[in-house]
Symmetry: C2
Subunit: 269 residues, 2 copies
Amino acid sequence: MIRQSVNACRVHGMPNTSCMMSELCLAQREDCGVAKNARQVFHRGESLYRSGDDFKALYVLYSGSAKSLILSEDGDQQITEFYMPGDILGVEGFDIGQHSCSVEFLETSSACCIALPQLDKALGESAELRRSLLKSMSHSLNNEHAMLFNVCQLSAERRLANFIISLSERFQSRGFSAFNFYLSMSRNDIANYLGMKIETVSRLLTRLQQRNVIRVNRRQIQITDLERLRDCSDTELENNRAVRTQQCQQVEFNTMTQFFSGEARSSLD
Amino acid sequence: MIRQSVNACRVHGMPNTSCMMSELCLAQREDCGVAKNARQVFHRGESLYRSGDDFKALYVLYSGSAKSLILSEDGDQQITEFYMPGDILGVEGFDIGQHSCSVEFLETSSACCIALPQLDKALGESAELRRSLLKSMSHSLNNEHAMLFNVCQLSAERRLANFIISLSERFQSRGFSAFNFYLSMSRNDIANYLGMKIETVSRLLTRLQQRNVIRVNRRQIQITDLERLRDCSDTELENNRAVRTQQCQQVEFNTMTQFFSGEARSSLD
DNA sequence: CGCAGTTTTGATAACTCTCAAAGTTAGTGG
DNA sequence: CCACTAACTTTGAGAGTTATCAAAACTGCG
C-alpha cells in the first residue's frame, strides 16, 4: 500500500511553487495569529483555526490536507470541505470577522498565512488580485451548490461515487494519479461530509468493489472502471451523471501565489 | 388571506431606499445585459439571468422575491436560494465569467443592476465596498454551510421547521410580521430546496399544524408557537436547535446601496 | 361551471439508519 | 518480538423515515 502524500511542489509541475510560497510567507511580518513563520507545519488533528477565532488572515494550504467543519449548538458537526494543496482557507471569516468554521489537518501539513492588513493593501493595489479572490470565493459557492444538489437529489451510492470522482480529479489536477490514491480522511469524515452514516459508507464501498468499479483497501482507493463509476446507480439503470463537487482551485491559487510572490515571479519557467 | 408583498421601501424602515436604489440604477449607463433601466420590473416566472449567460453585472433585488437554481446534466434541478429584497444576486458568476445558476422571480419583482465595469471601478476606489462585497459573499458561503448541515444532519421535519423560522426572521428583519407571512414559493420549491418530496412537505406542514405549532392556509403561514417550532422534532424529545439558514444580508445591502448612491446618501435621515 | 394546476391524503415500498458484534490495524509497553 | 489495547472498519438484522404511486380535494380562473 503506497501512502501518497499530497505536495504542492508538484502543483502544475511547477518546481518553483515551493519557492514562491516561501517568498509569500517571508513577506509576512504582521501578526497573523497562528502562522508567523514561513510555511508553518501542522500535524494530524491540529487546528489551523477554530470557529469563533478572530479572523486575522487567509491561508494557503501548501502541503497535506485538511477538513473544515461547522458545529451546531448541540455539538453536532458538519464537515463542509476537504482541502488539498493550493486551496485557500479562511474566506468564511469575512462575514462577521470571526471564523465560522474550524479547520483541522488530516495529516502532517503545511500552510502559508496571508495577514489581513497585507491582503487589504494588496487588494487596493491590484485589480487582478481582487478578481482572483472574488473568483475563488465564487468558485467555493458553486462547489457548495453542487454539494447541495448531491445531498438533496442523489442516492447515497451516487453521492459516494461522485465524491470519489471528485477526489480523483483533484488529485489529477495536482499531478497525482487519478486512478490510485490514498484517502487522508476517515470513513466517519466521508460519511459526515456526504450526509450518511459510517456503516452506509462502508457497505457502499464494498458494493462498488464487488461490482469491480473500484478496489478498496483501507484508505487506498483504486478506480478500475471510471466509466461505470460515473454512471453507476443503485439500479444500474439511470444515467445519472451528476454534478461533481470540489473541483480544483488551481487558477485562483496561481494568481494569489503569483501576486504575493513579487520578484519571485520572474524565476518561473 | 392577506397577500403580503415584500417591498424594499420598508427595508429598515427607510423610505429613501427606493430613492437610493434609483440613484444607483440611473448611474448605470453601460450594457448590463438584462436591466438597462432603473429598477427593471419582472413578473412571476421570468428570469433575471440563466445558467450559462455571460456574467455582466450584479443585481440587487429591490422588491418581490426570486429563487436561484442549478441544473444537472440530466435536467434535474436544485434550488440553491430564495431571495428577498436587499439581497445581492449574481456573485456566483465571478467563477468562470458565466452564471452557474438561473434566477427566476416568484412574483412581480424589481431589481437593480450594477454593471461589472462600474463595480470594478468602484471596488478599486473604495476599501469599504471591497470589504462589503467580500462580507456578502462570505455570508452566502456560511449560509450554504448551514444549509448543508440542515440537509445532512436533520430530519425532514426539523429542516422544514428551520426553513419556516428562517423565513420568519428574514421577514422580520425587513419590517414585516415574523408570525404571519405569505410564501411566494410553491410546495414544490420548498421540497426541492429542502431535499424532500412535495408530499412530505405537505404532510409535515399538516403535522405541525395538528400540533398547534403553526397554522397553514395554502401559502399563508402563521406561527402560533415559536418556542415549540424551534424545539420540535419528530419525537418531540430532542432539543435540536439547529442552524437556521438564509439569514438576512441587510448589512451588505446597506453598504452596497450607500456606496452606489453617492449624493443621494445625504438625503438619508 | 368546469378545467388546469396545485395541494392533500392514503397505502405501500425502498433506502438508509440504528443497534449490535465481529474483524482489522496501528501503536504501546513488557 | 509479541501480547494487548484503542481506534477504526466491516458485517448483520431489524426498524424507521421518507419516497413512490395513486387518487381525491381544493383553488383560481376563463
